[in-house]
């Protein structure tokens, strides 16, 4: 019976997975589903062309077949797909080659084209038709279906004809989709992706007519380089993946060749950290643990617990004791309490007994609340810095630790040698034999070591000049300013860069009932994000700017704000991948970069607007001045009984 269950489980897994989760993968709602289809096919075409060094010419055809029933075709002039790869490209889910690569890419979940095929199959039962040629004179016309049992694509028909053509055309029929040229559909998507891809030409034929989004740049941009991952933020899972794929013969050399900023010297340093962690592991749960902890930490937490026991809750004492037992994994947690205790120590030294008595209820607070209260009422910025420094150095260096352990006689020379050998074994073994525990230990130790920030040269922005060209072509604005910021890192080790632009006047902004309003165009790695705007950190960053300072009357202005975030890893808020996770408290580096860039553009806008306003005022003034001149001349002429025109002439001359 287990077998039958398992068989059923296998048979329905892929189709069921997709059916159940397609709304998370972009197929939620009729218009959004169609947009996702276009997105997958167009980004595939763009990627293929760029990879092959071809300036992309893409045709998108959307034909209405009935209510909620459309035929979609996307054709490119790319390198074509070799016959044997077609089933893999369109049939394999979760098989993307772009996963696990530290490279800036348009980003797939690995669903991509396979999702398009599945969606068509689920809603219409029909296959996708692929017409492709690699330029070898043979043009293949192929129909592909998804074999849900095998999780594979299957060619169900094949035709060949002779012809001189190179490229790929994907055709499919879809139900449960809808189309219009509105703000949240494929039209807007294509409009925006052409902005972000100035070297591509996209022609759209839809039920309403034909639109050409022409290229404004005739050169292909440089390809983004693959960058090595940085130790900060590396996960155990990622390290094991690297270990399985590496060509290095030893773990130590793998770390140097596969990770950024890791040198042989660093690996030597790593070995002392590993040694320390092995020793700690040994003494866990033993009677000597407290002694060992005293060799590990620079701060005597237990003595704080004793000294403050009248002021802190019993629960807290229990919690901290538990944390001590669970070192070194619990170090981050313990640091919070350590900070609280050194702060309490500072207060006890500074204040009188009476004052302490008055505030003693605050000592029962959890560390975050306590620190917030203390910083508000008692701590200057310098003191806060000093206390934080103390906590930064809460852990002794591995060398000091080992010296202390030896001193205290907790470990003999032979035992020490055994551990050192164990460490050597790990570092010298073949990476393919690295165990989970060993990988986890390495990753943990790497986090406590100091590494230089990673290089950021592999990122490839659109370029401020290109963005301005694109925006000018699309919006014909009166003013445009784009800026590409230098790359930085977030989460300690992930490179990113932001590009930002403001277009004002002309067709900028979104037309609404009350006139033109601010339009925000968000991009992640050059791909437009159309949905989940309110949840997106990019939107929040734009809205956090006080636009009134730059001469706007608020958001009722003909202004388009363009934000492009590029990175080897975009922090999305959810699997929908339409909103970026950043704010003042999360990935602040990204949030602040965007704000800075926007403010720079904003200042340029302000200069432009005040110049325009000044010029308008002067125009207005000039008009009035001539009128006043006439009136003045008339009055003077009447008083003196002299001819008006003579006087007016002289006045006008003076005022010119």
């Amino acid at each position: 019976m287990g077998e039958t269950l398992f068989k059923e489980f296998k048979e329905h897994s892929v189709a069921e997975f997709f059916r159940k989760n397609k709304h998370m993968l972009g197929y939620s709602g009729k218009i959004r589903s169609l947009t996702t289809i276009i997105h997958e096919l167009v980004t595939n075409s763009l990627d293929a062309c760029e990879e092959a060094g071809i300036l992309p010419d893409i045709k998108v055809e959307i034909e209405k077949l009935g209510a909620d029933h459309y035929k979609v075709a996307v054709e490119d002039n790319g390198p074509g797909i070799p016959l044997e790869f077609i089933p893999k490209v369109f049939g394999k889910m979760l098989a993307g080659s772009k996963m696990h690569r530290f490279i800036q890419s348009r980003g797939q979940q690995g669903i991509g084209a396979a999702g398009v095929l599945l969606f068509s199959q689920i809603t219409t039962g029909k296959p996708l038709k692929i017409i492709t040629s690699t330029g070898d004179g043979n043009i293949y016309e192929v129909e592909v279906k998804m074999n849900v049992e095998k999780n594979e694509g299957e060619i169900v028909s094949k035709k060949v004809r002779k012809g001189k053509w190179r490229g790929t055309r994907v055709e499919g029929e879809f139900k449960e989709v809808s189309y219009n040229r509105g703000e949240f559909g494929p039209f807007e998507y294509l409009r925006r992706i052409s902005l972000a891809t100035p070297h591509a030409k996209i022609v759209l034929k839809d039920p309403y007519g034909e639109v050409v989004f022409d290229r404004v740049v005739d050169e292909l941009p440089k390809k983004p380089e693959e960058m090595k991952p940085h130790p900060y933020g590396l996960t155990t899972d990622e390290l094991l993946y690297i270990a399985r794929k590496t060509k290095s013969k030893k773990v130590s050399s793998m770390l140097v060749s596969e990770l950024s900023r890791v040198t042989t010297k660093r690996v030597k340093e790593l070995s002392t950290y590993l040694l320390r962690d092995l020793i700690l592991k040994k003494f866990k749960d033993s009677v000597f643990w407290d002694m060992v902890v005293s060799c590990y930490l620079n701060i005597d937490i237990n003595s704080y617990l004793n000294g403050f026991k009248d002021y802190i809750t019993n629960d807290e004492i229990e919690t901290v004791k538990m944390l001590i037992k669970n070192l070194p994994e619990s170090l981050d947690e313990l640091k919070r309490y350590a900070l609280k205790y050194v702060t309490m120590e500072y207060l006890f030294n500074k204040l009188s007994k009476d004052e302490i008595n008055k505030i003693k209820n605050h000592f029962k607070k959890i560390p975050e609340n306590f620190m917030e209260w203390a910083e508000k009422n008692y701590l200057s910025a310098t003191v806060v810095d000093e206390l934080n420094k103390k906590i930064k150095n809460i852990v002794k260096s591995p060398d000091e630790f080992i010296a202390e352990i030896k001193n205290k006689g907790l470990i003999s020379d032979e035992e020490l040698k055994k551990f050192e050998d164990e460490v050597k074994k790990i570092l010298n073994k073949s990476p393919k034999e690295l165990t989970w525990d060993e990988a986890e230990m390495i990753v943990n130790c790497l986090q406590s070591m100091e590494f230089m920030a990673p290089p950021t040269t592999g990122l490839r922005p659109i370029g401020a000049e290109n963005i301005e060209k694109s925006l000018k072509e699309l919006l014909h604005p009166d003013f445009v300013k784009a800026i590409t910021r230098n790359p930085k890192t977030y989460k300690g080790g992930i490179p990113f860069a932001v590009e930002v632009a403001i277009a004002y006047g002309g067709n900028a902004g979104r037309q609404s009932d009350e006139g033109r309003r601010m339009e925000i165009m968000r991009f992640a790695n050059h791909v437009p994000l159309l949905y989940d705007a309110s949840a997106c950190g990019l939107t929040k960053a734009v809205k956090s700017i006080n636009w009134k300072r730059y001469g706007l009357r608020g958001e009722d202005a003909p202004i388009t704000v363009f934000v492009n975030l590029i990175s080897t890893f975009i922090p999305y808020t959810s699997a929908g991948k339409q909103a970026v996770a950043c704010s003042e408290n999360e990935n602040e580096e990204i949030y602040n970069e965007i704000r800075h860039a926007l403010m720079i553009c904003g200042r340029e806008l302000e200069k432009y607007l005040s110049r325009i306003r000044r010029e308008a005022e002067e125009e207005k003034k000039k008009k009035y001045v001539m009128k006043y001149a006439r009136i003045f001349a008339e009055a003077l002429a009447n008083i003196l009984n002299k001819p008006v025109d003579e006087i007016e002439e002289k006045v006008v001359k003076l005022l010119e």
Partner: protein, 369 residues
């Protein structure tokens, strides 16, 4: 003996001349290719000094010039239109209130005034630039003056002939000073003018025919005197050489707001100080010393009264030029009380007429300058 009154027409002739002169100067400048200018004295206390001999504030002579530039085009247009309008008023022997002038400007196209204040300012500018009272330009104030009774004949030329008002034959009523006193002819043989703060006291004195018993002209001030009232009293004083005696409540407001305005003028019209002030005026009561001498019923000084006295002692050039005033004000401050003019009723309703005023009028030494 009837003295020949001055012919009031002359000032209007002079004003019209000055308008034409200023216009001509602007025209000449224009023809030469130079920018026309309008110069006027700076109308603020910073440009004024209290001249003790003259008894009024005079301008020290700082001037500002308005030159025709792009920024000043509008105000130049407005000013010349106002000059044109004034000339028309003078030629047609007409007048315009300040409010009417503002509405007339609505015909001036882009040069029209958006609010009353702007219109008033241009008229004041012209006053200062030409050195001529606005009444002589044809612009009269919104307010009429107050009441007059006594041995005084007011004669006006009308199309129907001469109109005479005899202020001694008005019964319990009184003559109401009009907004524009420019065209009135004044005939009198009174001995002096008595200016009275409150209408209550005026009614009492009129009922008792005080003006008849003492051959004086009674003028009510009704608080701080209106421009028309001040001009009326000043004309009487100048044309018929009549002393001006002032009778107010015994409080800081009566001294420093009412009396002072009549005597010395206001800060706003500082450029016209000598045309509106009456340096010869004298305060006969109620003085602080009177409060003591006549043991009058009093009220304590209010916060603002004390402030007013202190301010006057410290900052007012007029007060600082007269030690008698300083002494009197300090005395009031020490006493801490004030008294109304009608408090004399303590001694009977006719006391003020029969005893207080005759005693005070006779004894100059009890007056304040």
């Amino acid at each position: 003996m009837v003295k020949l009154p001055n012919i009031p027409k002359k000032p209007r002739e002079i004003a019209k001349q000055k308008i034409i002169e200023l216009a001509k100067k602007m025209y000449d400048d224009l023809m030469k290719g130079k920018r026309p200018k309008i110069t006027m004295p700076i109308r603020s206390l910073s440009n004024a000094v209290f001249d003790k001999k003259k008894g009024s504030f005079t301008l020290v002579g700082k001037e500002k010039a308005r030159t025709l530039t792009v920024n000043q085009a509008k105000i130049f247009a407005q000013t010349t239109k106002m000059m044109e309008f004034a000339k028309q008023l003078l030629e047609s022997d007409d007048f315009s209130t300040l409010r009417e002038a503002y509405y007339v400007s609505k015909n001036w196209g882009e040069a029209r005034f958006d609010d009353q204040q702007a219109s008033n300012n241009v008229i004041e500018d012209l006053e200062a630039a030409l050195g001529v009272l606005r009444e002589h330009l044809g612009f009269i104030p919104e307010e009429d003056g107050s009441s007059v009774v006594g041995p005084l004949k007011i004669i006006e030329e009308t199309p129907e002939g001469e109109l005479v008002v005899d202020c001694s034959k008005l019964g319990t009523g009184a003559y109401n000073i009009p907004n524009d006193v420019t065209k009135l002819n004044l005939e009198t043989d009174a001995d002096f003018i008595l200016a009275i703060e409150t209408s209550g006291m005026f009614a009492r004195l009129n009922a008792e025919r005080f003006w008849d018993k003492h051959n004086c002209i009674l003028v009510s001030l009704k608080g701080v005197p209106a421009r028309a009232t001040r001009r009326f009293i000043k004309r009487l004083h100048e044309e018929h050489d009549l002393p001006v005696l002032v009778f107010t409540d015994g409080d800081p407001y009566g001294y420093l707001n009412i009396y002072r305005t009549l005597k010395v003028g206001s800060g706003k019209a500082i450029h016209l100080a000598d045309k509106l002030s009456i340096p010869a005026a004298r305060l006969i009561g109620v003085t602080p010393q009177d409060i003591v001498d006549y043991d009058l019923p009093t009220h304590p000084l209010k916060e603002q009264d004390i402030k007013r006295i202190k301010d006057g002692l410290k900052n007012d050039d007029f007060v600082r030029s007269f030690p008698e005033w300083q002494k009197a004000l300090k005395q009031m401050l020490d006493m801490g009380v004030r008294a109304e003019q009608q408090s004399l009723a303590k001694y009977g309703l006719k006391y003020v007429v029969n005893t207080y005023l005759p005693e005070k009028i006779k004894d100059e030494s009890t007056w304040l300058p």
